[in-house]
Symmetry: C2
Subunit: 423 residues, 2 copies
Amino acid sequence: MTQLPFSYPAIDGERLLADLHTLRGFGAVGHGVVRPSLSPEDIASRHWLRQRMADAGLDATLDGVGNVIGRSPQPGPALLLGSHTDTQPLGGWLDGVYGVIAALEVARTLRHDPVLGAIALDVASFIDEEGTHYSFLGSLSASGQLDQQTLDAARCRDGTSLPERLHAAGLDGRIAPLDLRRYAGFIELHIEQGPVLDDGGKRLGVVSGIVGARNIDIVVSGEANHAGTTPMARRHDAGRALIALASAIEDTFSRTAGPETVWNIGRMSFQPGAAAIVPERAELRLQFRDLDSRRLDRLEAALQPLAADIRTRWQVGVDIARAGQPTLPAHLSPVLQAHLVRATERRASGAWITLPSGAMHDAGIFAQVMPAAMLFVPSLGGRSHCPEEDTRPDDLVLGAQALADAVVDWARFTLPDRLPARK
Amino acid sequence: MTQLPFSYPAIDGERLLADLHTLRGFGAVGHGVVRPSLSPEDIASRHWLRQRMADAGLDATLDGVGNVIGRSPQPGPALLLGSHTDTQPLGGWLDGVYGVIAALEVARTLRHDPVLGAIALDVASFIDEEGTHYSFLGSLSASGQLDQQTLDAARCRDGTSLPERLHAAGLDGRIAPLDLRRYAGFIELHIEQGPVLDDGGKRLGVVSGIVGARNIDIVVSGEANHAGTTPMARRHDAGRALIALASAIEDTFSRTAGPETVWNIGRMSFQPGAAAIVPERAELRLQFRDLDSRRLDRLEAALQPLAADIRTRWQVGVDIARAGQPTLPAHLSPVLQAHLVRATERRASGAWITLPSGAMHDAGIFAQVMPAAMLFVPSLGGRSHCPEEDTRPDDLVLGAQALADAVVDWARFTLPDRLPARK
């Protein structure tokens, strides 16, 4: 441990909250916010944010896809802090916004410290984390995982050209990847978006990893028949067969799941959908998530034997196919996690836990190219992506303070020679 | 048994098939027919049918709702024979048409017999059995079960005024109920619309009864949550709860069902229907049918305890409600059935069975006000209400012949004094 003198400067909680409320004003609708990426409110908020970063002494730019990057004048190795400021179509006021403004608050707090001002802290708001047009456009392009050629050919979710959509928002569509050699790591502060911290009376959560997700489409093909005149034994009932399969999946997943595995059947429907017609087609979308890829493999592998049994017992076709590419679990940096653990214990002794992130985040994108870590504050009632989304102000301040402490510890442990002696 | 001389006159199979094919021409589309009630094709076919009845010596009229009634000049007691000539939106060529033309063929065959010509046989095509506008409009109004006031206020399925719809088709909308005192009974010949006869290699089926049907809507209410961040134990998952309930219904119905019970889950859906959102609402429509009202009662009563268990285990709301009025089972006349059994055994020894009708028919309406019976011929592959609907021509002829024989036997047993001695 360094013998240099150091302190843990206090962040300015009121300034943090004031900026959060100012940013909320871009697209506020009742208690919620409507600021999907590339909307006029989103673009306006990015110009405001760039100015706030510049006011904090950062070299702030809006890049060609809309990322707001505030770069410290200090040379690397640097830490990158941030998250995203775009919202769901009708979203909450915190979500990723909190991580961006907290990062800004940490940067401007440390900048004025005579010793810690030497730490290189860059701050970012990555565009379209929510996937209004192209999921993780900002973090993928900034981290070098989306090349210009791919972007130029990309289509938005609604089918329009992504470059045209960017141009329409006043952006040039040029990718400007960060210089990855500059960074020792990325830390993202975020609301939990789930109920674990709030239910458990905890104030902070150090994220152990970001779960991987798989989406599976299951389609059962049977035969439409009159539901009055066709004897039960003669039917090829896609609907009842799918119910039996879904029930078997529930049994198998319950037995195979780990303590943190989650699964969901978000959609299920029968065709033709008439009361008196035996369904000829029935389908569902199954999604399951876990930190452990081997468990995800086991869960996915369990589906085929269940389908085979249904085919035989119900005399129907069963098709099982992945929907889209699986999201791989993101392993977070043990070193950065250790700094976060130290900070949370200092600031909220006994009131923090480690937990996986069940949702994907920009940190999951950056974890592919550099050490990354995440810190959560509670979501009241576990609500997020909705106007009711909220967190107690003292927890918002606490999270930013813990982030600042972790940054200080990172510098103490990693760059002891860089920090000048305190005068 | 009467000692009077009698014979079983042969119907004219070619004339029967020719009329079936002529009627098929009104709305033919490929192998199928598009002739929903009150369509121009339907109205045109009714005028043609009225003329065919008149040609057969019947006093034929088109009544105010579109029923075509051909009345024998003989005094009652009469038998009423018939079915319906309207089709599903894209239907088959036989369906009820067969029963109407076969009835006409029987009437015109017997009319020229010097002895049997004394039998009073009325022939009818009842409108809108298929419920394009108002289910069983024709048989309900002709049998005195729909009064003028109700009709005047009635709305079609699409919400328009039923009287206006009738006027637009050139009908006056006046109900002209049959004089029920005239009739000793109603016999309907129909295609089976199911696979039982065809699968079993049978050529005729005497209908033992028309099953009752109940429709139940089940709605599960839970809580929408993020499917990644919400721990399994914390969810109020309407979707998985409904799958568990549907699976329990399947188990219970399989155990409680009689040999002829059928049930169907024709619709099932989850809201909001997104892959990554735990469903907050999930619903299904359950339909079940049986000849035995007590068994229907037992099946329906079994649902509440299953729902109670789901509410407790899954922490969701479960609402179970009847959709519409139940259709009561229709008990058919043992005497008329006995005449049909005698006729089928004579014409197709060993190649007939008794079976319930899983679908509702005009005979089910008439069974409420007079003795009624039904005879089925096979549906190839069990297909009906679709262009593929078909029946072998020799079976079509056989069914009409058996109907003729049954009418003769009815007269022999019921009206021996009425039939003049054969010269």
